[in-house]
Structures are given as structure tokens and as C-alpha cells.
Symmetry: C2
Amino acid sequence: MYTGRKISSAVIKRLPRYYRYLGDLLDNDITRISSKELSEKMNITASQIRQDLNNFGGFGQQGYGYNVEYLYNEIKKILSLDRTYHLIVVGGGNIGQALVNYTNFEKRGFVITAIFDVNPRLIGMTIRGVEVYDVDRMEEFVKHNKVDVAILTLPRSQASEVAEKLASWGVPGLWNFSHVDLHLPPTTKVENVHLTDSLMTLLYKINEDAAPSSHEE
Amino acid sequence: MYTGRKISSAVIKRLPRYYRYLGDLLDNDITRISSKELSEKMNITASQIRQDLNNFGGFGQQGYGYNVEYLYNEIKKILSLDRTYHLIVVGGGNIGQALVNYTNFEKRGFVITAIFDVNPRLIGMTIRGVEVYDVDRMEEFVKHNKVDVAILTLPRSQASEVAEKLASWGVPGLWNFSHVDLHLPPTTKVENVHLTDSLMTLLYKINEDAAPSSHEE
């Protein structure tokens, strides 16, 4: 974990994106980059980039630019991505299974260790080597295994109750795909992926621009 | 399409959430609600709610509260959800298939009409009645069928190029699940769902709170 000074949440929000771009550069054997070049790639002003990256020490050198690998590794440390995380999936439906099948997660150190569901047809199955357990066994599992994050991909009617239980068992993070907002004690962190909200926002943007002809069907 | 006065993008961002909560209330046969009750449910201040909802006419009445159904339908109109949208999926992998299998979309008027992929094993298959076509046929399809939104769930190495083509063929909206930021002309709107970025943000929040013992593995 990064032990330097406190970084604002606005900067934190941008770090995964820096991390992604820097990873791309590394994949393409680019070892250094100026804030100007990075600015053009990322569509952020160069001064914003300098300001963001100065937050954790300012790795840029005048006339040389940023050392891509060093910066990548520093951000990796700041985001605490230099360790393995253990995740469980609660709700073995379409989205849950898709996430288990998403091999990129493992490459990044996100390991899904179990899936929980209520459906007898799913229980006992394995999906890419990950077993589906009866949700009744979740408490036991969580108490005997390290679980950093529970991925909630279950119907919204059940999501709040399950989330409260997971929080009470001490699961520190919930990645919430269920179509409901969770109200939990501050010891459990939540990040929402409300897919339908996101699609509705897109549709609004489309319609906002459209001429009255968009009335036609 | 809503033809009233311009609403700020901050308010727009919150409308899908209002819409979701109001839909829940309707499902539970709740016909009216005060801003105070809605505030407690949604974890937004009552004054924020009044301010947001006043933007499009102020449906609240002193001592009565909001008429849930009326408000729901108004927001539906503002978000242009009172019509059917035609979507295509570009990339028939795990996430693409999960979205096709997500029946809630249809209930809301989001109809997926085709899937495009390069994989010969997928081409010709149908997923919940939706056919998978060779990506080579996409241009023809887009030009002869109404496509409001293309859902991009393809590898990031191909995403930018495909997105540029879709934009040039006049597709107004791209819902982007590919792990890349798109730079497109303003006539094509983009909404990103960068899942890994979202998970990284959650992990940061967890670690930010953790005691130094989080160093242990």
C-alpha cells in the first residue's frame, strides 16, 4: 500500500485510466513519454497531467518526459495492484458468469474463488474451474476464506439483504451490479455498475442532439 | 422527446436513478410520496430533490407530495424512454452474450437486433433468438436497419477502428465496454463502462481505509 500523502478522490478516479494508458505504452515498448504526448493520447491537458502526476512525487524530468515503466509501477503501488485480490460472485446468472469467464481479471491479480447462487441447477457446477455453491454456504465460506470483494450480480429484490450480511461478516468491498443502491456502514466500500442507468444516460445524450425528426419511429 | 427547457447534465445524470426509484414505488403500489420520504430512500437531501424535480415543472404539491406515476411518466418522456430503441452487439464474447441474455432490456424497450463477431464458430448461431453475423456484414446491416446504439464488447485492439466505422455510418450512440477511450466526432455519443477501472477504484477505496496490516498477504 502507498504510504505517501493523501491524494484527492478526483485524482484517484483518473489513476486507473493513467494506469491503462501506461500499460498500453509498455506493451508497445515505449519507455518514455512527454506530458504533451500523453496529453494528446488521453485527451487531458498537459498541465492537468503534470498536476496529477506531481501529486505523488513528480516523476517527469524537463526535456526527458516521464519514465513509463517507473510511473506505471508507482501507480500500480498507489492503487495497491501489486498484490492478489480474492473475489466471490454472488449470483451466477449471465453477468456473473461473464465476469468469471473474463480471463483478463486473473492477469491483473483478481482471482474469483467461488460463485454463490440459489438455483439448484447451477449449484455444484463449475465455471472455468470455479465452483458454484449454495448461497446458504456463503457465511461459512466468507468466514474461513479471504474475501476482498463480493461481486453482486443478483436480482435487486435480494441484493440489499445479501449486501448487509456480507458487510456484517466483514467483507471490505462490494462491486454492485444489482439494480439497487446500497446503504451500508462505512467500513464496507461500494462501487456501483448500474448498467441500465448508463444506457439511459447514453440515450438521453443521443436524443438531446437529435432534430425533431427523432420523433419518428 | 422532451421539448421543455434545457436541463443541466448533472441533473440528467441523476434522472435514471429517480426513474428507477419511482418505478420501484409504482411496483409496490405507492402512488404518492413526499420529498422527505424520497430523500430518505435515495439518500439525497429533500431540497436537492425539490430542486432537481422543479427543473421540469415542479410536480410536487404542498402537503400532498409527488404523484409517483405522473412523475415517473414525465421522467420517462424526458429521458425519451417512451419509444423503442434498436441495439446491436459488436463482439459476441462473454459480456456481449450476457447483455443479449438480459431480458430486462426488452421490458424497457431496448431491443437487440443483431450480434456481430469475427469468430466462425459463433457466426450463424442465435443467442436468445438474436443471430450472430460476420462482422463483414455490419456495414450493410447498419445502412439498411435502424440502429440507435452499438454495444462495443470487442477486444480493445479492434475497438477504436470499429467505433470510427460505426460513427461514419451514422450510428448515433456507442455503449463502450471495450477497455479503451474512443475519440469520435460529436455527432456520435459515447458512454463508457470501463469495468476494470471501476474495480480498481473499489480496491483503492478498500486499501485507503485499511490499517498497515493490509500489507500482509
